[in-house]
């Protein structure tokens, strides 16, 4: 359900972002203007760039995604020039109940032409049903050129590419207040050990608890804690074990997973560490994830682990940036050099039709022209994993930082594990297990129970 996370964040976006964006643009005028210059390439006046696609006499391509409201409008602007120059009518629909509705549409023979699919698991499911069309050869060569093999792999099933990578979101972030860190003389930790030491030091200093967390998210309650566990599995057991765990080649309660969960328990089930501003450990279960980081602003808590899209949750007037009220540091790896594991999520452009206008549109989304046009419009919420962009095209510092993390040659990216596990586990027993765990159940029985549910 990763797609819900950015979306929820997106929905909450309002004037906060506009003001943040304005500040950021003001702060880095040079970057801003270069971004605008890039954007100029996709103004309707210049159709030469689209000559290659041909024109389609006003043929309609329907696009279906989970991105709504203001974000949906921004998304549509990214392809407005293409639509005009190729004479394609792009009919966009964003919905809050995307997966359920998409399945219904596909089963009812009423599939959209294009869908932005937020989970590799969903791509596999739709490809197995024969609903998704493999991408054209041209599109595939674009994907080969612009993305690395990992990202191509998420859109592929058994070696056939079905969907083009679109957005990419970094989840391995810890939000903190740069100004308060500086005042207190704290350094951003660069290893897991340092992060633990910093937490202990904050406890010793006695001015608020080091961590705050919240996993309440309506139907999806529990997911923020699954991200914690996944991040620690990735760091402590390594990407190979992570993959085996996600594919259920090893048991959910394997000793290595258990060790990672225990490490998370050292933070989230540690009464000295949490839950700054909210109370004891068990308050994590009832705290809305949207509000969980707020105590950072009033000093009751120092750190909050949450994805890049949390940038949009801060109250009006909060500056997000390396020198601002809040910013995020990369959740450190076990050691500062060597592999830097990154947990993240993303969405993919899949086509349900072989009509030429649909194939052409999908091909357009695989080009750097499109990626750049989308990135320039991004107001702090959209990052891509495509290679070779100037990070300066991203106007928000957190997006720029995400892009740099994704492009770091030492970075080892892994897709959100709960999005890849079967729904009964990934959006079922794993979520509920995390709630029970933070509500007081021991690690062993919780992991056993999740393993038992994985039939």
């Amino acid at each position: 359900m990763a797609q819900h996370r950015p979306r929820r964040a997106l929905v909450a976006r309002t004037a906060v972002l506009a003001s943040v964006l304005a500040l950021v643009l003001a702060a880095c005028g040079g970057d801003g203007s270069s971004a605008t210059a890039d954007g100029g390439a996709s103004t309707p006046a210049d159709c030469a760039a689209f000559a290659d696609y041909g024109t389609f006499d006003g043929a309609t391509v329907t696009v279906y995604a989970s991105i709504r409201d203001a974000e949906g409008e921004v998304l549509q602007r990214a392809w407005a020039a293409y639509a005009e120059c190729t004479d394609t009518e792009i009919d966009y629909e964003g919905t809050g109940a995307f997966e359920a509705q998409l399945r219904v549409k596909v089963k009812g023979g009423n599939a959209p032409d294009i869908a932005l699919l937020p989970q590799p698991g969903l791509i596999r499911e739709l490809a197995a049903q024969g609903a998704l069309q493999p991408v054209s050869a041209q599109t595939e060569s674009n994907v080969d050129a612009n993305w690395d093999a990992t990202w191509k792999g998420y859109g592929s099933v058994d070696g056939t590419l079905y969907a083009v990578p679109h957005g990419a979101y970094v989840k391995s972030y810890v939000w903190y207040s740069p100004s308060r860190f500086a005042d207190a003389g704290y350094e951003v930790p660069t290893t897991l050990e340092e992060m633990k030491a910093l937490s202990d030091r904050i406890v010793a200093d006695g001015d608020g608890k080091p961590w705050c967390a919240g996993i309440e998210s309506g139907e999806a309650t529990g997911w923020p804690a699954t991200d914690w566990v996944e991040d620690f599995v990735l760091r402590m057991a390594g990407p190979e074990v992570y993959d085996q765990w996600v594919d259920h080649e090893i048991a959910f309660d394997d000793p290595r997973i258990r060790a990672a969960a225990d490490a998370v328990a050292g933070y989230l089930k540690n009464e000295d560490y949490v839950n700054g501003g909210f109370g004891d450990v068990r308050t994590i279960t009832g705290t809305a994830f949207q509000e969980a980081g707020y105590p950072i602003l009033d000093g009751a808590c120092w750190m909050h682990r949450q994805a890049s899209f949390y940038a949009n949750q801060w109250e009006d007037g909060t500056t997000v940036g390396p020198d601002g009220d809040v910013f995020a540091f990369y959740l450190p790896a076990a050691s500062a050099d060597g592999e830097q594991p990154v947990l993240g999520s993303g969405e993919f452009v899949g086509a349900f039709s072989e009509r030429p206008e649909v194939q052409a549109f999908q091909r357009y989304t695989s080009t750097m022209d499109y990626v750049r046009s989308r990135a320039v419009l991004s107001p702090g919420s959209w990052v891509t994993a495509a290679k070779g962009l100037d990070p300066a095209v991203f106007s928000s510092p957190i997006d720029r930082s995400s892009y740099e993390i994704l492009q770091n040659p030492e970075a080892v990216f892994r897709f959100d594990g709960s999005d890849q596990m079967p729904a009964a586990v990934g959006t079922g027993s794993f979520w509920r297990g995390m709630s029970d765990w933070l509500n007081g159940k021991d690690t062993g029985p919780v992991l056993d129970q999740i393993e038992a549910s994985w039939g």
Binding site: A100, G218, E219, A220, T221, G222, F278, G279, D280, R282, T283, T285, G286, P422, A423, A424, T427, G428, S429, R432, S435, D436, N439, Q449, S453
Partner: protein, 322 residues
């Protein structure tokens, strides 16, 4: 705009078509021979209802029962595996147990409180006001009521001010604030309170009407015979309102078996508070286990049917008595 016009035009055509068919049928019914006319009339009046019941009720019920014998995505037959899961999986068993707790507690307390209240305020000066006070929660949706109660149970750490009514009372009593919705098995009881709060008004209104319908001669005769108020209630009022009591109890039981909104809104079924209907939703729509969801639906159906049957019989008997 064009879209809107096109839709309006389609709607117009559909309505006109429907009217034409009805007119044609009426015309045939008017002109045809008597036997044909009668049959046509029956078909005309009962037909649409039967079709709707078939499409909207019978077909989905059969389909659900069939689905409950298949696996998660409804492709391969698994026999009674899903039912076995309901009665062996520890999590599912908690759900069944909670549902039993709800089915016992809510009707007893809602009816008990409603009855007591009805008796106490009967013929008092403030009857109308007092009645509306208890009846008011009936006007609030389950989700609305759940949100209200979530605030009542809200928890804040001891060092900050409480926003929850109940925790403020607890703090005034000198105790530390509690996370009422987090502690199984007690959290289920706190949710039960919400349902009782909503349903007591319904019980009170029906029972109050029943009490008023007790023949005055009976109570008067009992009083003349020297019956104490308790004896009057126990031996005269109670037997007279028994049918209403049963109807109230069973109606509440049916409502409770289907309870979903309260659990969904307050805890989402976390911390061992799930009930059958909530679990049916979770299994079907968030976990994608359609087979298990269907099995739970069938189980609810099987549990509700006898109660509905009993309820209907009682209702009929009440009418005959009247």
């Amino acid at each position: 705009m064009e879209d809107w016009q096109a839709k309006a035009a389609q709607l117009g055509v559909a309505v006109a078509g429907f009217l034409a068919v009805v007119a044609l049928v009426l015309l045939v019914a008017e002109r045809g021979p008597r036997a044909v006319r009668d049959r046509l009339a029956i078909a005309l009046f009962a037909g649409p209802a039967l079709v709707l019941v078939g499409v909207g009720l019978v077909y989905p019920a059969v389909r659900t029962a069939v689905l409950s014998l298949f696996d998660a995505d409804g492709t391969s037959f698994v026999g009674v595996d899903n039912y076995e899961w309901v009665f062996t999986d520890p999590q599912a068993l908690v759900t069944v147990r909670n549902t039993l707790v709800w089915v016992v507690l809510v009707p007893v307390f809602a009816t008990g409180i409603g009855l007591l209240y009805a008796v106490l305020i009967d013929r008092s000066r403030f009857e109308a006001v007092a009645k509306s006070l208890l009846f008011l929660p009936m006007a609030i949706s389950f989700v609305g009521a759940s949100i209200i109660w979530r605030f009542v149970y809200a928890y804040r750490p001891p060092e900050s001010g409480q926003i929850g009514l109940l925790n403020q009372l607890v703090v005034w009593a000198g105790l530390p604030p509690q996370q009422f919705l987090n502690d199984p098995p007690w959290n289920t009881f706190f949710l039960v309170v919400v349902m009782v709060w909503i349903q007591a008004g319904f019980a009170m209104v029906v029972l109050s009407a029943a009490i008023k319908a007790v023949p005055a001669e009976l109570t008067e005769a009992a009083r003349l015979d020297g019956a104490s108020p308790w004896q009057l209630f126990r031996n005269v009022t109670l037997p007279c309102i028994r049918p209403s009591l049963v109807v109230v109890l069973t109606t509440v039981v049916i409502g409770v078996l289907k309870v979903f909104d309260i659990v969904r809104t307050t805890t989402g079924g976390q911390f061992d508070t799930s009930v059958l209907a909530n679990e049916m939703y979770v299994q079907s729509f968030t976990a994608g286990e359609y087979g298990r969801g269907a099995a739970l639906a069938v189980l609810i159906f099987v549990l509700v049917v006898p109660v509905v049957a009993y309820n209907v019989r009682q209702l009929r008997r009440t009418r005959e008595v009247r």
